[in-house]
């Protein structure tokens, strides 16, 4: 899930070439196309009037959304379309941020946390009007666990040993270890697919289903798919929560962030997640509503643990004390975010440890920690230990102007305390390869977080699949394992609070900030709950357009 947002945020702001400067000027021209002083929206866009039926909402995606099969695709554009095409066992409650019923009416777990039983709705039909049953849920999870499908979701369910359709509308999962986050992660990731259309097929080559006519149980069904252009969906009359208010949805493929913004301004789009630098262009325009969310996401620096420099906790602490993160947030993201204090974002209210406070910017403390660790400053001001210079590379991918700017600012701040930091900008695939092969030194990353803290295990347990920094800490390993398997909610909370304290003190990553998601919608578009991009799309049956 790391860096899964691939929306091609590109606006030149750094050391610019002539071409980049012109691109930035073009972006600025769009941003300046509007004027000042917006009553900065906030709050739900529900309005007070009663919903009306009709209209087609036009929404952007960033890439071709194929394959539209939830078992084999992890691409954001595909996910956004799939959110209203398929249904999930659960979905996220906008207020409590906890899972609430969707395809599952109720669920229960055995006292030992090893057996989960989901009772399903009996009034659900597929878009081809075939009935939905427990066999479809069983089939979906079996396909996720089938190694030849190489599903990105498989690692979430490796402890699942048995999946049974008890009766037509009851499904039971048996696990070898407790997985208390099952209702959350199944709601976030697993769109249920139709057994009657996919049974016996190789999912990766089921081209017709994956790319042309996927069938789901969601509020909107596919009408047409025009490669390179758009995906058209129509309301499904027999949707189990009632026919959606909108007649349909058009997903327009618009890879360029400036082109997306121009389309929004030309009222060819009704929804867009904008960049902080685009705020100026939206302010004062009464045709749009701006809503800001503290999304469960963070932008941070991953040190490669185990290297001579970063294996020393004092050096890692110096990396945090020496970084003026508020200045970075203000300059790179125009202040749209909050400083990161722990590994679990504040958006996960139940799990975040609010007792922790952000590390202060304290260059003197950073210098003293480095001195203490034996990295002393030479005549040039740069530090070394036993002839080894304190020198490292900050790697950053070129797709995000914000992260590129963070790299430049951090480089200067680290040089000020005697760390000889350089910057390595690489394209996305090289960046991903560096992460997987752990060939970076200090890496700037962005990670959306799930709504349950269990995700932490994969990122920070020793040898975890997504532990890119090769972090290892026996105390952390113990807490992560116990957190995932603890059945009692209050005890789980306590374990995760302790985990955050340990990781905070150990500086497992160099804290950055939690970006604020900036959603701009047409003022005519109503009925959207207060949820970030990925989750608000599961409520598209409640969206409506004012006449």
């Amino acid at each position: 899930m790391t860096d899964a947002i691939r929306d091609g945020t590109t606006q030149g702001q750094l050391t610019l070439t002539r071409r980049e400067m012109l691109a930035a000027a073009a972006a600025a021209a769009i941003a300046a196309a509007c004027s000042p002083a917006l009553p900065s929206g906030g709050g739900p866009t529900g309005g007070s009037t009663a919903p009306v039926r009709g209209g087609i909402a036009r929404l952007p995606i960033f890439n071709e959304p194929f394959p539209l099969n939830p078992i084999i695709s992890n691409e954001l554009s595909s996910l956004l379309v799939r959110r209203s095409l398929y249904s999930y066992l659960t979905r996220l409650d906008p207020v409590s941020k906890r899972p609430v019923p969707d395809l599952a009416k109720t669920w229960e777990v055995s006292p030992n946390g090893l057996v989960w039983t989901f009772n399903l709705r009996d009034d659900v039909s597929w878009h081809d009007e075939m009935p939905f049953t427990a066999e479809d849920v069983k089939f979906t999870f079996e396909q996720i666990l089938e190694p030849k499908n190489t599903s990105v979701e498989r690692t979430n369910y490796l402890d699942m040993t048995k999946i049974e359709a008890i009766d037509k509308y009851t499904v039971r999962f048996t696990l070898k270890n407790p997985l208390m986050s099952l209702p959350v992660i199944s709601g976030a990731t697993v769109g249920i697919v139709p057994k009657h259309l996919l049974e016996g097929k190789d999912l990766r080559t089921a081209t017709s289903f994956n790319n042309e006519k996927p069938i789901g149980t969601g509020p909107f069904k596919i009408v047409s798919v025009v490669p390179g252009s758009h995906v058209e969906m129509a309301a499904y009359d027999k949707f189990y929560r009632g026919k959606p208010f909108l007649d349909g949805v058009v997903w327009k493929i618009v890879p360029d962030v400036n082109a997306r913004f121009a389309q929004l301004k030309a009222q060819e789009l009704d929804y867009m997640t904008i960049e902080p630098s685009q705020l100026q262009g939206i302010q004062g325009d009464s045709r749009f509503t701006l809503t800001e969310y503290a999304a469960p996401e963070y932008t941070y620096f991953i040190p490669r643990h185990g290297t001579p420099i970063f294996s020393d906790k004092r050096v890692r602490q110096a990396l945090v004390y020496g970084l003026n993160r508020q200045a970075i947030l203000d300059v790179a993201a125009l202040g749209k975010g909050t400083l990161m204090v722990g590994t679990i974002p504040p958006a996960l209210k139940d799990w975040h440890n609010s007792a922790l406070k952000p590390y202060p910017f304290d260059p003197a403390k950073a210098k003293s920690l480095l001195d203490e660790a034996g990295w002393t400053a030479g005549a040039s001001g740069m530090r070394a230990k036993g002839g080894t210079p304190l020198k490292f590379e900050i790697s950053v991918d070129t797709t995000s102007a914000i992260r590129r700017q963070m790299a430049v600012l951090a480089q200067q701040m680290y040089r000020d305390i005697g760390m000889d930091a350089s910057i390595k900008e690489v394209d996305r695939q090289i960046y991903s390869q560096m992460l997987q092969q752990k060939t970076f030194e200090l890496n700037i990353s962005n990670t959306p977080h799930s709504w349950d803290p269990d995700t932490q295990r994969r990122f920070y347990i020793t040898n975890g699949g997504s532990n890119f920094g090769a972090y290892t800490n026996t105390k952390v390993d113990d807490l992560l394992n116990r957190g995932v398997q603890e059945v009692d909610v209050e005890k789980r909370k306590a374990l995760y609070r302790e985990l955050q304290e340990v990781m905070y003190e150990d500086v497992h990553v160099v804290h950055g900030y939690h970006p604020t998601e900036l959603r701009v919608t047409s003022t005519k578009l109503k009925g959207l709950p207060d949820l970030p991009l990925r989750d608000v799309m599961t409520y598209m049956d409640t969206w409506w357009l004012e006449k």
């Binding site: 899930m1 790391t2 860096d3 071409r19 012109l22 000027a25 073009a26 972006a27 021209a29 769009i30 196309a33 087609i56 036009r58 890439n63 071709e64 194929f66 992890n74 190694p147 030849k148 190489t150 599903s151 990105v152 690692t155 990766r204 080559t205 081209t207 994956n210 790319n211 025009v226 490669p227 390179g228 252009s229 058209e232 058009v250 327009k252 493929i253 618009v254 890879p255 360029d256 400036n258 082109a259 121009a262 389309q263 301004k265 030309a266 009222q267 060819e268 690489v426 394209d427 996305r428 695939q429 090289i430 960046y431 991903s432 390869q433 992460l435 997987q436 699949g465 997504s466 890119f468």
Partner: protein, 300 residues
């Protein structure tokens, strides 16, 4: 052509990074290996190359890593949009460039020549991503008279008028640089021909200036211009990456650039093969046109 595709094959496989589908951080390393095997990327490079070449001979360009679909289908889906955009922009460019170049040469150093120079200089110099955004601002955001992107309005039946409205701005952006380039070549070529002895002879015979231009000068002046047009023609197939991206035009350029970012080898190779084929045939066509325009070339 074989050299081009072989070089491309080597470059894409040896470039740092790798297929995005294998580098998804959410993918378990063991599953990534299964996928690598399935895609045939675990085999020696030379074996991958021979297999790919053998398939290409049978017109099988393989399947896209990203879409799990045959590359030939992906290319054929996007080819009409790219050819429409490229063709219209080239026609637009030719329709303006020829008269502009000829008039500039005929009235050399006059105000009309200077104006033409300014227009062509601007056409060559203005980056198309900047011009595209400015046109969108003017025609879509402020005036609201033209759609800013796509090839047709989603949800409505496709009509000629609708497509023409969508086509106007991208064709203008793409055609402007082509027009400027061809106009400049036409001007200098016509100027060169007008100084030739046979033109002086034609004038001495008392032919009207219009006839001197059309019968004697223009055909010979076309030779370097045809070369330039020949260079632009492959774009009609290869697509214009920047213009297609700005205007969300569903063409080959976007397919190619997206494949490059995703390291989708089969698409990169398929597009390269198609474009290099067009380049070879365009060069052949240009050579044939040379012979028509100047029979001496045929004798050579």
């Amino acid at each position: 052509m074989l050299v081009v595709v072989t070089a491309t094959f080597l470059l894409v496989h040896l470039a740092p990074g790798g297929p995005a589908i294998l580098l998804d951080p959410a993918l378990d390393p063991a599953d990534a290996e299964i996928l690598r095997t399935r895609l045939g990327l675990d085999r020696p490079l030379i074996e991958q190359y021979w297999r790919w070449l053998a398939d290409v001979v049978r017109l099988d360009f393989g399947s896209s890593f990203t879409f799990d679909r045959p590359v030939i289908g992906l290319i054929l889906e996007r080819l009409p949009a790219t050819m429409l955009l490229g063709g219209v922009s080239l026609l637009f460019a030719l329709a303006i460039a020829f008269p502009l170049g000829i008039i500039s040469a005929k009235y050399r150093s006059s105000w009309i020549d200077q104006l033409s120079s300014m227009v062509t200089l601007a056409g060559i110099s203005i980056p198309n991503f900047w011009l595209g955004i400015v046109l969108i601002l003017i025609f879509s955001v402020y005036l609201g008279v033209l759609p800013s992107s796509g090839m047709s309005t989603p949800g409505r039946p496709v009509s000629v008028v609708d497509v023409a409205q969508h086509l106007f701005m991208p064709a203008l952006v793409l055609g402007l640089a082509t027009m400027a380039s061809i106009a400049k070549y036409t001007r200098s070529s016509v100027l060169g021909v007008l100084k030739q002895d046979y033109v002086r002879t034609a004038r001495a015979k008392g032919l009207k200036e219009r006839l001197v231009l059309t019968r004697h000068a223009l055909k010979n002046a076309l030779i370097p211009v045809v070369t330039v047009i020949g260079l632009w023609l492959p774009r009609m197939v290869g697509g214009a990456v920047v213009t297609e991206t700005i205007f969300s035009w569903p063409g080959m350029g976007r397919l190619a650039i997206s494949a490059a970012f995703q390291r989708d080898y089969p698409i990169i190779l398929g597009v390269t093969l198609v474009v290099s084929t067009v380049v070879v045939f365009t060069n052949l066509l240009v050579d044939l046109v040379y012979g028509y325009l100047d029979p001496r070339i045929r004798l050579d």
